[in-house]
């Protein structure tokens, strides 16, 4: 009985994870913009790989397999947002083209692309001179 429930849960998790990963692959190809592509890629792929690893952990019911699978899930959930944020910031810095249906770009004009600092969001602070960021003297 327990074994049957274990197998059904594991199969369902594996199918869900596989379909999510396939969806991430399709989203990478079909989305029109780097930022939309990242939105499809990072969330769907980390959730899909997490589901597949969880399926392996449920089906094995062994402490060595489960520890490795849980470590893999935690690692994915920790690193996928960091990597996605860094590559999105780099894409905005080097001026990747936005989709032509984009409604608003709230960061437009606020990034100092030379010093890589964010300036003048929110409070109407005076525009800093070139070469000095809000944190002090940046090269």
């Amino acid at each position: 009985m327990i074994s049957l429930i274990q197998e059904i849960v594991s199969t369902v998790l594996m199918l869900i994870g596989t379909l999510l990963l396939l969806l991430a692959g399709i989203g990478i190809v079909r989305m029109p913009d780097i930022f939309l592509r990242m939105s499809a890629a990072s969330k769907a792929s980390s959730l899909g790989a997490g589901c597949v690893l969880l399926s392996v952990a449920v089906s094995a019911a062994d402490i060595a397999v489960t520890v490795r699978a849980i470590a893999g899930i935690l690692f994915l959930l920790l690193t996928a947002p960091v990597a996605s944020h860094m590559i999105g910031r780099a894409a905005y810095m080097i001026g990747a083209p936005l989709w032509k249906g984009t409604v608003i770009d709230e960061l437009k004009g606020h990034y100092d692309t030379r010093g890589h600092t964010l300036s003048g969001v929110g409070a109407p602070s005076p525009r800093p001179r070139r070469g000095t960021g809000p944190l002090g003297d940046n090269p």
Binding site: M14, T18, M38, A41, A90, I94
Partner: protein, 87 residues
């Protein structure tokens, strides 16, 4: 049952999914597009390794999956630094 499903349904779908970002890797107009495609391919590779470990009951493939995930993360961060400081 699970191993049959993993072998005949999950692995073909995962191989299709890992082949799709190659199109973006070749066609991508900018460098970050290619980096995102590589990142997704690494994540799908983790799932393929886990499925293969489930089919063959080999524990070592899970360690390989962890190492592939680590290398993919470090590669993405390194490419992001490279793309940002290049100008």
């Amino acid at each position: 049952m699970l191993q049959t499903i993993a072998l005949w349904i999950a692995l073909p779908l995962l191989s299709i999914a890992v082949a799709l970002p190659v199109i973006r890797l070749v066609r991508g107009p900018t460098l970050p597009d290619r980096v995102v495609a590589l990142d997704v391919m690494g994540t799908i590779a983790i799932a393929i390794f886990a499925t293969y470990a489930l089919i063959n009951a080999q524990l070592a493939f899970l360690d390989a999956a962890l190492v592939v995930g680590l290398i993919g993360f470090i590669g993405t961060v390194a490419f992001a630094y490279y793309a940002e400081r290049r100008i």
